[in-house]
């Protein structure tokens, strides 16, 4: 490694090398799930990269956003590929983060000493959902316009501060030019900055703390692999295949642009959010008008808020694991929620 030697003589990189070499990855049946953090990282990198490229031509105002995306897709060479990769990589990123989160949850890897790693991870998921929500509007097409209208309508249902958040997000009473500007700022400036910071913290935590082993296997002696270079090389294989998958999807299923948003047109049929919001959307649709003293919608938002907070603070809520119990009822609750999410998502697609 001649080039590394060249650097070594000039910068003290040994601590980093040591950190990389220190970590060991346990080898067992569910080992496969260890790759999803890496996959998410790669996809996030693709997002940053393709996103910057899209910025070269995108123009964030209602009069030109749709036209500029259309321009990127038709007139700019390989523009169709960049946009398509950005869209598909976003879908896969969110899917990969969900898998990463649920595998971490079921392996109870959030327990001591990884509480903060878990919390940064939950924040990262929420930010990525925010990315999805804001990015969906940017092409300013009919479907995204009305989905955003409905989405921000739901936010207004949050008690006390809902209306305020809605007005701030929309930049006014209605979804319009101002909304596009705000979503654009969030999507390309604030969220990327926050995610980059959180990802760095997340990665440093992981390198320091090493890989977690599920409680059930904790007492067994497992074969381990050094993270560097053995595991990272395996990561590279997975990354190649992921990149291949992104490309195949991008070329074979290019995301349609649809018709330009017309704020004065009646809401078209079959408005639905992106798939990762479908379970929430479907839940809101299925709710009765009133639950106890609350409006149905408000009750759902309350439950979702509690779930979100619960997810964030699971390391402390899971007193069973903290006491060293082999099974935690929260794990079963997690299964129930996962099955519910899958079920309502399917239901949502069947209904529309």
């Amino acid at each position: 490694m001649a080039s590394l030697d060249w650097i070594r003589k000039r910068f003290p990189i040994e601590p980093f090398e040591k950190l990389l070499r220190k970590k060991e990855v346990p080898v067992y049946r569910s080992n496969l799930f260890y790759y999803f953090g890496g996959i998410s990282l790669l996809l996030f990198g693709i997002q940053v990269f393709s996103g910057i490229l899209l910025l070269f031509y995108y123009s964030p105002h209602a009069g030109g956003a749709y036209e500029s995306v259309r321009f990127i897709m038709n007139k700019v060479q390989f523009g169709w590929l960049i946009r398509s990769v950005h869209v598909w990589s976003a879908h896969l990123l969110i899917a990969s983060i969900f898998i990463h989160l649920f595998s971490t949850f079921f392996m109870r890897a959030y327990r001591f000493p990884r509480e903060f790693t878990w919390m940064t991870g939950v924040f990262l998921l929420m930010l990525c959902l925010g990315f999805g929500f804001t990015g969906y509007l940017l092409p300013w097409n009919e479907l995204s316009f009305f989905a955003t209208k409905v989405g921000t309508e739901i936010i207004a249902g949050v008690p006390a501060i809902g209306k305020f958040i809605q007005t701030v997000l929309r930049g006014g009473e209605e979804v319009g030019d101002a909304t596009l500007g705000r979503f654009f700022a969030l999507h390309v400036a604030l969220f990327p900055m926050m995610v980059t910071g959180l990802v760095l913290i997340h990665l440093i935590f992981i390198q320091f703390q090493g890989m977690s082993t599920p409680p059930a296997l904790e007492n067994k002696t497992l074969k381990t692999l050094p993270f560097f270079p053995n595991f990272i090389l395996r990561d590279c294989i997975v990354w190649s295949l992921t990149l291949g998958l992104v490309l195949v999807l991008a070329v074979y299923c290019p995301p349609p642009l649809g018709a330009k948003a017309d704020p004065f047109a009646p809401t078209p049929q079959g408005i639905r959010p992106e798939w990762y919001f479908m379970w929430m959307f479907q839940t809101l649709k299925m709710l009765p008008g009133h639950i106890l003293a609350l409006e149905g919608e408000q009750a759902a938002l309350l439950v979702m808020g509690i779930l979100g907070a619960g997810l964030l603070f699971i390391p402390w809520l899971d007193i069973w694991t903290r006491r060293g119990k082999r099974y935690s009822p929260l794990t079963y609750l997690g299964w129930v929620i996962l099955i519910y999410m899958i079920f309502t998502t399917i239901l949502g697609y069947l209904h529309s």
Binding site: G64, F71, F78
Partner: protein, 145 residues
């Protein structure tokens, strides 16, 4: 034995590095092409280059795409530039300029519009939407609103 190991080692190294380079170049190439500005300008819903000055001598007109619909640019005999939506308000045929009568006419049902877009005769229920025209060096820019 040693030779066999060396041979295989070289093969793997070449394979990995070669493929890596190939993929890298297959990434860089589209990006370089992407960054090259396209021949066409960014088409805006709000503004488009309709024609070069030389294309429309007085008392002629040109049909050009504006967004996804045709529009008509007219250089009138009195040396004015006018632009309208070229979609007839009757049954969506594309209108044309009638040089002899100095009117915009639709061949489908002989709807006639004046050079202000208003209906002169025939079945069109509404006037043609008028666009703004501006001259920039030798180009004629048409914009909405």
């Amino acid at each position: 034995m040693l030779n066999r190991v060396m041979g295989r080692l070289d093969f793997i190294r070449i394979l990995v590095r070669g493929c890596f380079l190939a993929i890298l170049s297959m990434t860089v190439y589209p990006i370089l092409r992407y960054l090259t500005p396209p021949k066409f300008r960014l088409p805006r819903d709000v503004s488009v280059t309709a024609a070069k000055l030389s294309e429309v001598p007085p008392n002629t007109a040109k049909i050009f795409p504006f967004g996804s619909k045709p529009a008509i640019l007219i250089h009138t005999a009195s040396d004015e530039y006018k632009a309208f939506s070229a979609v007839c308000t009757h049954l969506n045929c594309t209108v044309q300029y009638d040089q002899k009568a100095s009117v915009i006419m639709c061949a489908c049902h002989n709807g006639r519009y004046g050079l202000d877009g208003r209906v002169i005769s025939g079945p069109p229920p509404r006037p043609l939407e008028e666009y703004k025209v501006a001259l920039r060096r030798d180009e004629i820019i048409v914009s909405k609103g």
